[in-house]
Amino acid sequence: MTRAAQGKAAGRSPAEIFAASAPASQVARRATDRGFLALCLAFTSLAVVILAVLLFTVWRDGHERLTWGFLDSFASRKPAEAGVKAPLWGSIWVCAICALAALPIGVGTAIYLEEFARRSRLTSFIKLNISNLAGVPSIVYGILGLTAFARLFGTVSADDPITIGDPEGLLYLRLPFGNGVLAGGLTLTLVVLPIVIVSSQEALRSVPRSLRAGALALGATPWQTTWRITLPASIPMIMTGAILAMSRAIGEAAPILVLGVPLFIRSTPTNLMSDFTVLPLQIFNWAGRPQAGFHELAAAGILVLLAVLLAFNAVAVVIRHRLQKAS
């Protein structure tokens, strides 16, 4: 009878038999393995614990302030009366502008790079440049937005702006943009553009070559192939990436801060030139104050921000699910 068979007769598992017959060095290596597994579990559960403590703290400090009144009042010097109406609407406006600008440009760039670009020095330079842009700190994009959008490189004086339309109406335009929602949205566009481009590229790359070959073989032009075949097939992944990018945009405070938006705003945006602030900036403002009342406001603001992010991700899941079913 072999040793394995003996072991089986004694009701031991193969691993135990192996361990029992192993030389001393192997016993030591097994101990190392188990020790490392313990380290793994400790480090990984650390991440879970941190997330739990973070969410618990924010909920504990903020949930009492989370009322309809909080969502429907403007900032105030008295913590008891303050709310997030202005930053909430500001975030929505800025995010909408950002999505309207970043999606076409980002997906367009990805289509060019994946479907049309020839292998050339310029193409590889564009690709390298996009990966470098992803590493630029967001506060530096704020400086770009401040100079390019808010001040139009100083070509038009802010004291003597060119205006079109009625300042109270929806279609009001002013050059330079100043620190209005349009400047904010376009600045965030620059921040998230690399994310949109890279995720759209991955989405397009995941479409099988055979689909394109089939369309081209039927006589479709490259653009028809892209527009009718490749793009529809990659939309679920593109949308997922886009929502990830929008989540990033809605959480960004630094670039908006550099634009120099006013700290106290008691109105919601009415057009593209309206003054605004955003949720993360309002949270920053409240969290930086020493009084406990403002810390509760900051926590409640964080809860609102996290709820918006959660809604975004829920939408992403629904879109992915629907489109996967349809295709």
Binding site: L41, V58, T109, G142
Partner: protein, 289 residues
Amino acid sequence: MIRGALFGCALLSIASTFTILAILLWQSATFFSMPEVSLADFLTGTTWSPLLGAEKQFGIWPLVAGTMLVTAIAAAFALPVGLVAAVYLSEYAPRRVRTALKPVLEVLAGIPTVVYGFFALTVITPFLHDRISEGFGTYNALGAGIAVGIMILPIVASLSEDALRAVPRSLRDAAYAMGSTRFDVSTKVVVPAALSGIMASWLLAITRAIGETMIVALAAGNLARMTVDPRAEVQTMTAYMVQIFLGDAPATGIEYRSSFAVATVLFAITLGLTVVGNLVLRAFREEYD
């Protein structure tokens, strides 16, 4: 026509890079042409006092030192923890645990940084003050550094995990067939094979830590000085920029202009690290197909 429009979109990304460069260089040139500052003092000076006193001094090193201290603390926390978590997820974890843990990392990665700043102020720093040492004030480098570390942890973990999972199964099988334990396979086969990806994830995480703004503006403080004491209040490059852009310094004043010179240094450091990261990925990549 459509091709041209798409090409235009692609060119926009190049345009934004060069516009950033042009703005930073032009504004820095204006700053250095002011009589009170010199480029040599800026690059070698160890006192940064642009707002206080009659004698303004612009030596960048205290801000760089503050940034490095916070980044080093964040890296010391996040790089090892992130790598071990990645090894666990890719080599050890049962599928059920993996599907439960991935969303935790995704949520951590999606949390806005200002929330981590609030966390540093209300949880980490009070904990350090009450449990570790009375020397930790409201603003300190360690609390901000840990918060930045938490922020970059999911970047390290998920990018390193991608790199580890890209290592072909056959390499692992061969090592297991030789009687290796999972620890042996992980440390002697999989991690070395994925080293370029791991290094790239580390460099990206460090770049993020250096450029992180809201956490340090809330929790690290506004005192520019050269120190390695983690209990000390320090000022990072980004925190200085926040201080200036939040303040009411006039747009033509020397303080306001100095923030553009600081931004140029920040941009140069992060761009340098990103370029190095790309080179590492290309130079040390192991090809298996």
